[in-house]
Amino acid sequence: MAVDVKVVTYRDIFQYGAEKMGLHSEEYLRLSASIILDKGDMASLGIAEGGKVLLENELNRIVVNATASADKPHPGLAFMIKSPWSNQLEGDESCPAGASGFKGIQAQVSPSSEGITQMDEILQRLRA
């Protein structure tokens, strides 16, 4: 069971702080490896608050934590803080400066029992 979402990236002040403290820290991982999903989308996938999800598109796949959105409903739209995790799903035709491109990051979301993708893993993938 999977849902197609467009992922919009944004900047968060707390994640910025965590980045300055240490790129390999728990705090940075916790704030960056996560996605905000529409409540309805989460329910239809049977994902609990804080549950793990797999985000997959033709470029890559990553596992992050899911939180329910407190906004007005936005099915098919998800939000991620701009981070190396969100970058894993982003193609070059999008804007490197700070937001996902006009086409957005498209990905399939599904529940996952794998471990959260770690920073080391991401670094390895970049060097591969």
Partner: protein, 412 residues
């Protein structure tokens, strides 16, 4: 108790100059006053893992690292210099001279989509003003696809909504309106829920056309009609409006910036409306201005052997074909999308950076530098173009970017 020895923060492009460090003499940044959370984190970088001179992962002396860097750049036929926006104007000048000398392709993280706006502002096609003008005169601030509370936290309290100004003595309570146009309920949107307009990705053009429609007195084809008409009224009552575009909106309108120009033209027929960019790093505008003055462009520029700017490839093409990349105070492996980041990782990188970063970890040569703005002084341009000169807050033994680049140039 406190001596009013104000320091400058280079955490974001507002470059706040009213920071107080009671214990600066002892090298401590505790009890810092007026530093926002982002600035506080920026200063914490002083204490995070610093770089040391490295060649191919082995510790070397600073001279050896600089020598090796110069060697790589001297022998490169397609060098790239990337980063720039965390350097002082002085360092950027030296860097551009270096780029011209070795025939490098230069680019910075913001030029890709924000560059379109910046080029139009620097060339005068879109009217702009200073943030001090905003504080003194603006009665309508529109944050379109931007969230200053998260990216330039003191934007609203220093300039665009809360403070009093020459013509805005009653400020946000009676005389200023804050409007947010965004895809989600950002922290800034929470401050003005009645004047928040939700626009989904890709819908910015329709929103823009709807504004033009209500200004003509026509029924808008997009959005909540009542709300759009209200927006039209707010605009018509505005004496001095300012739009602060963010990356989401600029990416959405990247092929339709002429429509944005048209909107500004139309708004300025009715009243006064300006656009002030929201740049990322503290001296992003400084780099854009220098490059613009030199080449008439703000996006990627390729210097030829004679030092003149030529037809430039895209960043993607330049990096894929690069045989040497000098990264100045930036972390492309952290910030860039997958493909670009991989291309960077595959090329020989020389990283000049004060802190350990993902890019520094894969670099062939790492040259440690002082944190500009904190440990070295210099000049920078605030996001609105106002020139700020600052002294260092802390002492250091590290070289400034400017000095490192000068030494590399001498060695080539």
């Amino acid at each position: 108790m406190t001596e009013f020895n104000y320091k400058t923060c280079t955490g974001c492009s507002l470059i706040c100059e009213d920071i107080l460090f009671p214990d600066a003499g002892s090298g401590s940044v505790s009890q810092a006053r007026n530093l926002c959370r982002k600035g506080q984190a920026h200063y914490q970088a002083l204490f995070s893992e610093r770089t040391g001179p490295l060649v191919e992962g082995s510790e070397v002396s600073l001279d050896q690292a600089i020598e090796r860097a110069a060697e790589i750049l001297r022998n490169a036929s397609a060098p790239v210099i990337y980063g720039w926006s965390n350097c002082t104007l002085e360092a950027q000048e030296v860097g551009l001279a270096l780029a011209a000398k070795i025939g490098a392709f230069v680019d910075d993280p913001s030029s890709y989509c924000e560059g379109q706006l910046m080029e139009r502002i620097l060339s005068g096609k879109i009217p702009s003003c200073t943030l001090d003008d905003v504080r003194n005169f603006a009665d309508t601030s529109i944050f379109w696809g931007s969230d200053p509370s998260s990216t330039q936290p003191r934007h609203l309290s220093r300039f665009s909504y809360f403070p009093r100004g020459e013509k805005r003595q009653k400020s946000y309570e009676e005389e200023r309106t804050c409007i947010v146009v965004d895809v989600r309920e950002s922290p800034t949107a929470r401050l003005c829920p009645n004047t928040t307009y939700r626009v989904l990705p890709g819908e910015d053009l329709q929103f823009l056309e709807a504004i033009l429609a209500v200004l003509e007195g026509k029924i808008p084809k997009f959005g909540d009609k009542k709300k759009m008409i209200e927006l039209g009224s707010i605009i018509k009552k505005t004496e001095y409006g300012v739009i602060f575009p963010g990356p989401l909106m600029l990416v959405s309108l990247q092929d339709q910036m002429d429509r944005f120009e048209e909107l500004l033209r139309r708004l300025n027929e009715i009243t006064t409306f300006k656009v002030v960019p929201m740049t990322g790093q503290y001296n992003s505008r400084g780099y854009s201005q220098l490059l613009f003055d030199r080449t008439g462009r703000v996006k990627g520029v390729k210097f030829t052997a004679s030092g003149e700017a030529a037809e430039a490839p895209s960043l993607v093409e330049a990096v894929k074909g690069a045989d040497a990349i000098l990264v100045l105070g930036s972390d492309p492996l952290l910030d860039l999308p997958l493909g670009l980041a991989r291309s960077f990782a595959a090329a020989p990188i020389i990283a000049i950076d004060p802190r350990r970063s993902l890019t520094a970890d894969v670099a062939r040569v790492v040259i440690p530098s002082a944190i500009s703005g904190l440990e070295t002084g210099g000049t920078a341009l605030r996001t609105d173009g106002v020139r700020v000169t600052f002294e260092p807050s802390m002492k250091t033994n590290q070289l400034a970017d400017e000095q490192i680049l000068t030494r590399i140039m001498e060695a080539i």
